[in-house]
Symmetry: C2
Subunit: 362 residues, 2 copies
């Protein structure tokens, strides 16, 4: 494997000094890019695109051609695991993901088994290998998975939900059933992320998209603890010449601001935060436990270039000056919107790089 | 006016000692009650129900017939104000509120004017008078309005929104336009709540349903500050024999946990919090500044009676024992779901009363 030409992102995750604040964007390969939509048309569907390693590699690299991003991320979906469990993932246009066979009763829960990443999820590890090789060491590659709780939401609800009625009814009425789903999911996510690491992922991220829907107390038990099991299961980098450290892990709970202290104790290298979080306060509370990733409101990218510059600087100012043992990775607080003008992403990336360099020199 | 038979709610808001923790539920008059659905059918539509003071009174009193609730709330909608501004409120079944004439450009903003509560919103103050009189002093009556920011969201988006793209584009691109909308809204909400107070509302509540969608910094400027203007404009109780104190005000920002300190400084009597908030921590941070209202996850009411009892006790335990200068009003962390079995509400109300009495005696 070639050496990394740009390891700024990795250094920020390890809370080592960097010349500037690295940036990548959640969902950076996506519908706001015309070239993505072209490749997706060629693939036939979003799911076909995820399952074709060559095309997944093509779209994963597209944003790097346009923008000076500091990381690439595997192109995939968080629902590959429940799909591999046999739940029958499909997508309804404009309504998001659905499962043919949701998990709603004792019998369905009893049937759940951890999928073998080298069989049912082979297309994902193939995509990791293909992307890593195509990157040629330009920037690090991030692998990812949904959190056990977030997967359970989709598995029980059978799709997206506004109130999480079904999964929360299970949570309050039959916590034992939900715990069983979460145990299977935690093992599955751990094995899946380890397979991505073995295939070449240099960082892994856990997307806890729906942790913020949980009540205090329920979050700790049903989202945080299963994530901890995942983090504990993750392997060291398998590459020769590496230092034997674990591959850096980022945990991101959307709406997780109330539990930032607990998230910082997960054993992760970075905690992702959304735009409701005050970065100065987050930094203070997290201390030297891990780095922080975030947290621009994706809707800033809908405004003009001046607003993008101003708000990007605001995020950097809010995090404050670099210091030993502290790390910041710039990102949005959620995935980039399909309505984003790509030219605003250029402005964002360039502003983050130039302004954070200036903060370091001044 | 008859004296209040049950002023527990008012005493909790004033942080005076109470024999038990008072409880009422956001959206307590609503679709989970078969009798509500009957009255609504008779009215013809939700909006017709809101605009008919006799029928609005009928539904406002229905939950009090079933449950030992400690407060009644005006039956109305938060969007009466923009409707009175001429934006043309209508409802699409299953999709929520819409406006015929959303406010999206400079010209539309320039035309906005504060409606006269005694004319365009007369049906609301009539409903307040009717309900107050029908209550006959059983429990206090709460009036309410949407927050200036929450109203602006609907006015600019033209309806509900997942990402608040239009109003946030205005926020980042033309903050001056949004400020102008918020200034009109703040004045309108203040005048409207004062008219409800004059008509007999004994407590008023500001629903900031979408404050939690804002970025840190933007929340303070575009949601909190306009709410402060509303709170500052509110009048003292006009009733003879009253102590001249201002009518108690509750401010509730859904997802407002990150800003609980700032909310406690609004000058309100209580801050409403959703289920993501740890009540012990909230109590500690708020101190003697105001009371706390909340915060059971409404989905608890989907589970069995034992779960309802257990989770209600958990909320009371989490708030902790009563103490001088501290007040707790039990509520859900959001409106009650239309799928709630009414018998679970009985269990909830009775548990809150009996368990909180026990906490006081033990």
């Amino acid at each position: 494997m070639p050496e990394l030409a740009n390891d700024t992102f990795l250094r920020a995750l390890r809370r080592q000094p960097t010349e500037y604040t690295p940036i990548w964007l959640m969902r950076q390969a996506g519908r706001y890019l015309p070239e993505y939509n072209q490749t997706r048309s060629r693939a036939g569907s979003f799911l076909a695109l995820c399952k074709n390693p060559e095309l997944a590699c093509e779209v994963a690299l597209q944003p790097l051609e346009r923008f000076a991003l500091d990381a690439a991320i595997l192109f995939s979906d968080i629902l590959t695991i429940p799909d591999a469990m046999g739940l029958g993932l499909y997508f309804v246009d404009g309504e998001g993901p659905r499962f043919e066979r949701p998990v709603r009763d004792e019998a369905a829960v009893a049937q759940l088994a951890v999928p073998d990443p080298s069989r049912e999820l082979r297309y994902v590890t193939d995509a990791v290998r293909t992307i890593r090789s195509a990157l040629g060491g330009r920037v690090p590659l991030i692998g990812f998975a949904g959190s056990p709780w977030t997967l359970a939401c989709y598995m029980v609800e059978g799709g997206a939900s506004g109130d999480f009625r079904r999964v929360k009814t299970m949570l309050y009425e039959r916590p034992d059933l939900l715990e069983r789903i979460l145990a299977v999911n935690a093992e599955a996510v751990g094995a899946y992320l380890n397979a991505q690491i073995d295939a070449g992922a240099q960082v892994v991220m856990i997307f806890d998209s729906w942790g913020g829907a949980l009540a205090d107390g329920a979050f700790q038990r049903f989202s945080l603890e299963p994530m901890r099991r995942v983090v504990d299961a993750l392997r060291a980098r398998p590459e020769p010449g590496d230092d034997g450290d674990r591959v850096p892990v980022i945990a991101f709970t959307k709406g997780g601001g109330p539990w930032i202290d607990e998230l910082a104790d997960l054993g992760c290298d970075a905690v992702g935060v959304d735009w409701t979080v005050n970065l100065a306060r987050a930094r203070e509370r997290i201390g030297a436990r891990c780095a922080v990733q975030g947290n621009l409101d994706p809707m800033v990218l809908m405004a003009g270039e001046n607003a993008v510059r101003e708000q990007a600087q605001r995020v950097l100012d809010s995090f404050g000056p670099p210091a030993p043992g502290v790390g910041h990775v710039f990102n949005l607080g959620h995935g980039i919107s399909q309505f984003t003008p790509p030219e605003n992403v250029s402005v964002l990336v360039d502003t983050v790089h130039s302004y954070s360099r200036r903060l370091r020199s001044g």
